[in-house]
Symmetry: none
Subunit: 230 residues, 4 copies
C-alpha cells in the first residue's frame, strides 16, 4: 500500500478549484502584488481568528492596512479571498513530508507512516481545516471543493486497498471504495475531533498524538484483516 492518508488535501493535478478559479488577473505592478499578498495574509489571519462568517471585509483590509476599496481591486468578494487563501495554503498541506519507511513492503508500516503523515498535516493546518469545515457548511462552492479533495484521498486509498486485496493481504469481502470511504472518514473524523474541537474546549486531556496514530492504524489494519503481526 503505497498511498498516503494525507492526501485528502491533494488536488491531483486537476484544477482543484473549478468553481473558484474565476480569479482576477494577477497584479501588474510590484506594489499591486504586495497589496494583494497582504490582503491574502490578512484574510487568513482574520478568518482563522474570527471565523468566516464573522469576518467583515473591513476587518481584512484593516488587518492588511489598506483601504476598504482596495479590496475590490483584487477580489470580487469574500469567497474569492478565501479561495486565494486556500489556494496558497494548499501547497503546504500537500507535502506532509512523510518519513521514509524502512520496509515499503510491510503494509502495516506503510499504513502507519501514511496515517502519521496525514494527522501531522491536519494538526499543522488545524485552523485552516476548521475554517474549511465551516465554510463548507455555508458556501456551496466550497462544499464541492471539500468533497472533491476528500474523493481524491478516498480513491487513492481505495486503490491501495484493492492492491492489498489482490495481493491477498486484505479482506476481499468488502468493496474497496466503500471501505476506503469508511476508513478514510474514520481518520479524518478523529483528526477533526482532536485538532479542531480538541482545541476549542479547554477541558479534558488532549489525546496523545502517538496513541491516536497507533489506534487508527490498528483499527484500519484489523478492519481489512491484515495478517497478524503480533
Amino acid at each position: 500500500m503505497n498511498t498516503t492518508a494525507a492526501d485528502e488535501m491533494d488536488g491531483e493535478k486537476a484544477p482543484p478549484m473549478a468553481p473558484l478559479s474565476h480569479l482576477r488577473e494577477p497584479p501588474a505592478t510590484k506594489r499591486g502584488a504586495r497589496t494583494r499578498a497582504a490582503l491574502v495574509k490578512a484574510a487568513r489571519k482574520v478568518f482563522e481568528r474570527d471565523g468566516y462568517l464573522d469576518t467583515r471585509l473591513t476587518d481584512i483590509t484593516k488587518e492588511a492596512q489598506c483601504a476598504a476599496g482596495s479590496f475590490y481591486t483584487y477580489f470580487a468578494n469574500k469567497e474569492e479571498v478565501l479561495a486565494a487563501v486556500l489556494l496558497e495554503a494548499q501547497e503546504d498541506m500537500l507535502h506532509p513530508g512523510m518519513a521514509r519507511v524502512e520496509d515499503a513492503d510491510d503494509p502495516y508500516a506503510v499504513l502507519e507512516a501514511s496515517n502519521r503523515a496525514y494527522l501531522q498535516a491536519y494538526k499543522r493546518n488545524a485552523k485552516l481545516m476548521a475554517l474549511l469545515e465551516q465554510v463548507a457548511q455555508v458556501e456551496p462552492e466550497f462544499r464541492t471543493f471539500r468533497s472533491r479533495r476528500a474523493d481524491a484521498f478516498i480513491r487513492r486509498n481505495a486503490r491501495g486497498i484493492a492492491d492489498l486485496q489482490a495481493r491477498g493481504v486484505a479482506d476481499r469481502e468488502v468493496d474497496p471504495l466503500l471501505a476506503s470511504r469508511a476508513l478514510s472518514g474514520m481518520v479524518s473524523v478523529m483528526a477533526y475531533n482532536a485538532f479542531v474541537l480538541g482545541e476549542q474546549q479547554e477541558e479534558g486531556a488532549p489525546v496523545d498524538f502517538e496513541e491516536l496514530v497507533s489506534t487508527v492504524t490498528r483499527l484500519w489494519a484489523n478492519a481489512l484483516r491484515f495478517p497478524d503481526q503480533s
Copy 2:
C-alpha cells in the same frame, strides 16, 4: 454488546439541551399553543429548505402565517426556535425502533442491528442532521449540544466494546473509548456522506442502504477482531 449505534441522538435522561433551555413560558391558551406549534413547524420547514443562515425570521412567520411580531411572543431569537425544533425532533430521533435481534448473544448480529437502526434514524432525519451540522459550525451553543450527544453515543459504544473485551470477544489492545470514537465516527461520517451530501449532489449512484450497513458492520467487527464467523 447490547448497545446501539443509533444513540448518538440519545440524551440519556439528563437534560440534553442545558444551554438551550432558556425557553419562555409555554403559552397559556390553546390559541397560543397553536401559534407556537405553527411557528416551530414552519421554522423546521424553512430551516431545512433554506438553511439556518439564510432563514429570516419573517420567512418563518410568513410560513406560519402570522405577524412578524408574534414570533417574539414565543422565542427570543432564531437560536431559540431552532432549539425548540431540535427539542421536538429529538423524540423521533431517540427511538430508532430497533428490530428485535434473534440471538442477543451474537455480537455480530447485535452490532448489525444497531448500525442498521442508527443509519435508518439518520436517514429519516437527514435534513435535520444536515441542519445540525451547519448550525454547529455557526453557533457555539449548538456545537456543545452536538458534542454532548455524540459523547453519549460514544460512551455507550465504548462500554459495549469494553464488555466484549472482557468476554474475550474483542481485541484487547485498543483503548475502548478511543476505538469507540473512531468507529462511531466512521459510521456517522458514512451516514453524513450518504444521506446529507448524497442528497445534495444528484450525480452518482446513491449508496445501497444494505450494502452500507453490511460494510460498516463488517469493518467494525473486523476492527475489533470479532471471532471469525465465515
Copy 3:
C-alpha cells in the same frame, strides 16, 4: 405675609388638570374599581422606579397583576394613567401640614414656616416631583400642568409680597410678581437639587434640611429687605 411657599402644588379649586381631565367614567362595578385602583398604584410604583419613558404599559399591568388588555378598560394610554396618578397624589401634596406659627404677624416666622412646609412636602413627594419634571419635558400637556401649579404658588407668594410692601415691611422697588417668580423659583430649585438630584448621586454629603430652610428663608427675607431682626 400669610401665604405659604408650599402651594406650588395647590390647585386652588379650579380644575387643575384641564387638559388631562378627559378621564373615562368611573368603573361601574366593585371589581372594576379594584382593578383601576391597582393599575394606578402599580403605575405610580413603576413610573417612580423606571421613569415615565422607560415604563411600558405591560410593566404596569404586570405590576398590577392584570392582563395587558385590561389597561384599556380604564385608560386610553400612558398619559392618562399618569394623570390619574398625579390627581390621586395631589391630595397629599396639597396639605403640607404647616405648623402653627406663634406670632402670625412676624413676617420672618411666617416665611420660615412656609418654606419649611414647602420643602417637607417636596421631600415627601420627591419621586413624584422627579417624575413630574421628567414628564413636563416630554409631554406638553404636563408642561402646562406644571406651569399652572407653579403659577398658583407664585401668584400667592406675590400677593404676600405686595401685602408686605403695602405694610412697608418689604422693598417697594421690585415688582411683586417678578420677585415672587424669582424667589419661589429659588426655593423650588433648591428643593429639586436636594431631593431629586441629591438622591440620584450618592457622592457628596446631602444638604442639612434645617440649614436649607434657614438659608433660603434668610436670603428671601434679605432680598425683600425685611426689617433687620438680628
Copy 4:
C-alpha cells in the same frame, strides 16, 4: 465681586464632556469633514425643532441630505451627535461677551453686568438650553454633564460671595456655597422661564429683558445685603 453669573456654561478648562468624549476619529478627508459638519448642523436644527426624543436618525440624515448609513460613519448613536452638538455650541455659550464695567470695584455694577451677560447668553442659546434640560431628564450621561457645568458656575459665584464677605460687603451669616446655589439657581430658573417656557406659550406678555436683569440683580444684592446705594 468679579465673577460672572454667565458661566454656568463654562467648563473651566477641565474636560467638560468626560462621559461624552467617546467620539470617533475625526474624518480624514475634507469631504468627510463636510459631511460630519452637515450632520452636526442638521442634528442641532432637528433637535431644536422636534426635541431629542422625537428626532429620528433619519430625520437628521434627511436634513443633512445624506444617506442613513452615513450617520454611523461619524456617530455611534443619537447621544453622540448630541454630544457633538453641545461641544460645538459650548464655544459660543462660554463667551457671553460681557461689557466692560465702568467701575470694577462697584459690586453692584459688576453683579449687574454679570447677570446681564448670563441672561443674554441664555437667551441666545435658549433652544439649546431647552434641549439640554430635556435631555438631562432622559439620558443620565447628560444629567451629569448639566450638573457639572452648573457646579462650575455655582462654585465661581460662591468664591465671589466669599470674597465680598471678606471685604465686609456681604452678609456673613450665610454659607457662601449654599447661597450661591440658591441665587445662581434663581437666575437660571428665571432664564428658563423667560426664554424657554416664555417662547413656547404665546399667551401673556413676555418679560422685559432689562426689567429681568434689574430685578434679579436687585434681589441678589439685597439677599447678600450689599450696602445700600439708593
